[in-house]
Every structure is written in C-alpha cells, then in structure tokens.
Amino acid sequence: MNPAVTDATDQPVARLEGVRHRYGRHLVLAGVDLNVARGECVVLYGANGSGKSTLLALLSTRYAIREGAYHLDGLDVRHHGQEARERLLFVGHHTHLYGHLTSVENLLFFSDLRGLSVSEPQLRRALDTVGLAKAADKPVQWFSAGMRKRLALARMLLAQPLLLLLDEPYSALDTQGVNWLNAMLTDYLNQGGAVIMASHDPERVAVLHHRPHHLARGILTPLDTPRPEVA
C-alpha cells in the first residue's frame, strides 16, 4: 500500500456496504465493502470477468443497487440517483461521444445535460488542456480511439466531479497520453477528488498514490502490492 495515502476517513466520498450483484443466477459481486475518501485513488485489479466493470456500473448508478448499501457524499444512492450523478463522472470503455458532433458540440451537449454553465472559451480551454485544440471543430467520427479518450476525459475538467470512475483509462493512450493522464489525475486528487479505477496496468498506475484492491469470486480484497494477474 502506498504510505502517502490515508485510509478512509469519517466522511468518505463513497461507501459501499455488503453490495451484491447477480446476472440471473450468476453471483458476480458477493458482498463488496469499500470506503473511498477525498484525495484517494482506489485501483481495482482482477481477471477478466471478475466483476470490475459491474462494480463500476453500480458505482456510476448505471445499474441499480439491489442488495447492500451505497452512499455517495452522504447520499443514499438508491433513493438519490440523480443527485449522485451530479457528483460523479464515469469514463468507461465507451466514451459516450456523438460522431456527428464536433468536439466543442460534444462538450456543450455534456455541459447542458449536467446543468453546467460553461462558456465556449472555457470549452476550448478544456480541449487545449487535453491536447485537442486543433480538433475542436472537427466531427468526432474521424477521431482515433486515443483522441476520443482524451475528449471524454476533458469532461472531467468541466464537471469537476467529486468521484471519478475510470474503466481501463490507459487503454488507447500513447506514452505521452499516459503521462498527461497521470498528471491530470494527480492534480485532481490533490484538489480533493476521489478516483476509483479498474485497470490491468499496475506499471502505469504506479505513478499515482493509490490503494490497490483485488476482485475475485465476487470478493474485494485490499492488497499490499498490485497483483493484477491473480485470478
């Protein structure tokens, strides 16, 4: 465990207690407990199909919590899903972008659906920060996977969420992109944000102060060191 990171505080950003989830008769999560504090990064390791993405889908409110409890910023997410969504941002395998819209239009769409009042110069500054200034007015359908990922992450700069959920954030990013993402996440954590990410890439995550966890057979276990290949 990284010594610089404190354990959960009395006021965790996210708190999961005994969360279970099943697809039909198949139990994917068999009672997950997790506390994530401000400025803390939790990394989920585990084999393919171990339930990392399901756990992130539950944390993002995409799937409803049916067994167990999930509190985000003190809110019971079961009954305050919409308020919870105001406080989190999920960037998964899909970037949720519309190909026929330009980068600026996609960010404008995101801002309006989140109720943010963001000016066009602010949108362009965010695009500049993620290295997409030159592609600001181009339709997203022509973007590479890495550019799409950068654009999806630009939303973080606009929304400033309390909790950032990332599913394999380093995929499709080149070395420069990985460095840029880690720098951005470090800033975000220093400002008090919280991150929960699923990854298969401990080397790239190593730069971040984080608490590694391992998910196997539906049980989430804290790790002293990352063991991503353990099934």
Binding site: Q82, R85, H96
Partner: protein
C-alpha cells in the same frame, strides 16, 4: 431542465440535417406512398376529397414509423445511450428531448407532404391547410410520444422495426381514427370537429403523461 431537453432535441435534429438520414428517408417514403395511392385509386376530385383524411393519416403513420425506427440510432454509437442515462437529469427529461427531436422532424415532413398531397390528388382544400396542419400536429404529439417510448423498448431487438409497428399500430388506432374524423369534419361543410379534437387532446395528454414515467422505469437496470 428545458436546456437539457432542447440540447437533446437539437443534437438529433442538427445531426439528422447534417447526415440527411432520417428526414430524407421519411420524405422519400411519404412521397412513394402518395404516388402509389394515386396510381392505385386514380380518384376524381370529389373522391379524392373523401379519401384525403385517410390518405394523410396513413402517410403520416408510415413516415412516423420510419422516423421512430431511427430515433435511437445516434445512441447506438459508442455507448451514447448509457451516456444519456448517466446525465444528472430526470429520466423524463431525456425522454422529452428524444421525443421533441422526433416530433420536429415528423412535423417538418407533414408540413411538406400536405401541399404535395393536394397537388398529386388535385384536391381543392387549400383554404383548410392551416386547420389540417393543426390537426396533424395535434395527433402527432401523441403518436410520436408513444412511438418514442416503444422505440426505446424495442431498441435492442433484432427486428425492432417490425416489432415497433406491431406495437404502435393497435395502440394508436383510436388516436388515428380521431385524427381522420377530425380532418374529415374540417373538409365537410357541416362536420362536427370539436368532439374529435377533444379526443385527440385526451389521447395526447394520456400518452405524454404516461410515457416519460414508463421510460424511466424501462431504462432502469
């Protein structure tokens, strides 16, 4: 909230005008239907006037089905539907945004096909165009409302267009009958339009009150 509804509708309408996908398909389909009807019946002016309400609503229904089949097409790309559901707005707002985008495209097609129908069938009802358009618009509110919900329901189905038609046709039959009768009453000299308009309003209110709630329930996983 209204900004979010506007933005979703804008995304759909602007996207369609850029890609010329749904609107052009709807227009092409509507024109084809009208031409086939004209060739099949070859009605004289009096007969055409009698057929006009049914023709208009049949064409509206078919073109609406074409539009509804594509209403969630943009959301199939890159998990965009999931992105919509992760927005911090009520589910009803998402529904109304999608509905409004589809409604605007359908109204645009209706606005274009009405004069075309008059010309094709040589019907002299130009003085009634505003009233007929108003009735079409009134019926389209409910038709597209229920249709948007059913499009969301059948979104993941393999033969979604067939399923959509199978579900939409029986459920909107009362609304369509009211629409046909209302247009017929406008065209007749001594027609009673008010009762049919009341029925159209009732269907619109019921459909548009139920569908956002049903949509919210439908998308929960």
């Amino acid at each position: 909230m209204f900004k979010a509804i506007y933005r979703i509708a804008w995304k759909d309408v602007a996207g369609d005008l850029r890609r010329r996908a749904t609107l052009s398909s709807m227009l092409f389909f509507a024109i084809s239907v009208l031409v086939v009807f004209q060739a099949a019946f070859e009605p004289d002016r009096k007969e055409a006037l009698r057929l006009l309400p049914g023709l208009l609503w049949a064409t509206t229904l078919f073109t609406t089905l074409v539009g509804l089949g594509r209403v969630f097409q943009a959301e199939e790309e890159d998990g965009a539907f999931e992105g919509l559901l992760l927005a911090s707005v009520p589910r009803g707002v998402i529904f109304f945004g999608k509905w409004l985008g589809n409604l605007l495209l359908t109204l645009l097609v209706e606005f274009l096909i009405l004069p075309l129908t008059m010309v094709l069938f040589n019907v002299d009802a130009w003085a009634h165009i505003p009233a007929i358009l108003a009735i079409l618009a009134l019926g389209t509110l409910g038709l597209t409302g229920l249709g948007t919900l059913l499009a969301a329901m059948t979104r993941g189905a393999r033969s979604r267009e067939t399923l959509l038609a199978l579900l939409l046709l029986p459920l909107t039959a009362p609304l369509l009958i009211s629409g046909v009768q209302a247009v017929a009453a406008i065209l007749a000299t001594d027609g009673q339009v008010a009762p049919w308009l009341k029925l159209l309003v009732i269907f619109d209110v019921v459909y548009l009150a139920m569908t956002p709630w049903a949509f919210g329930w439908l998308v929960e996983e």
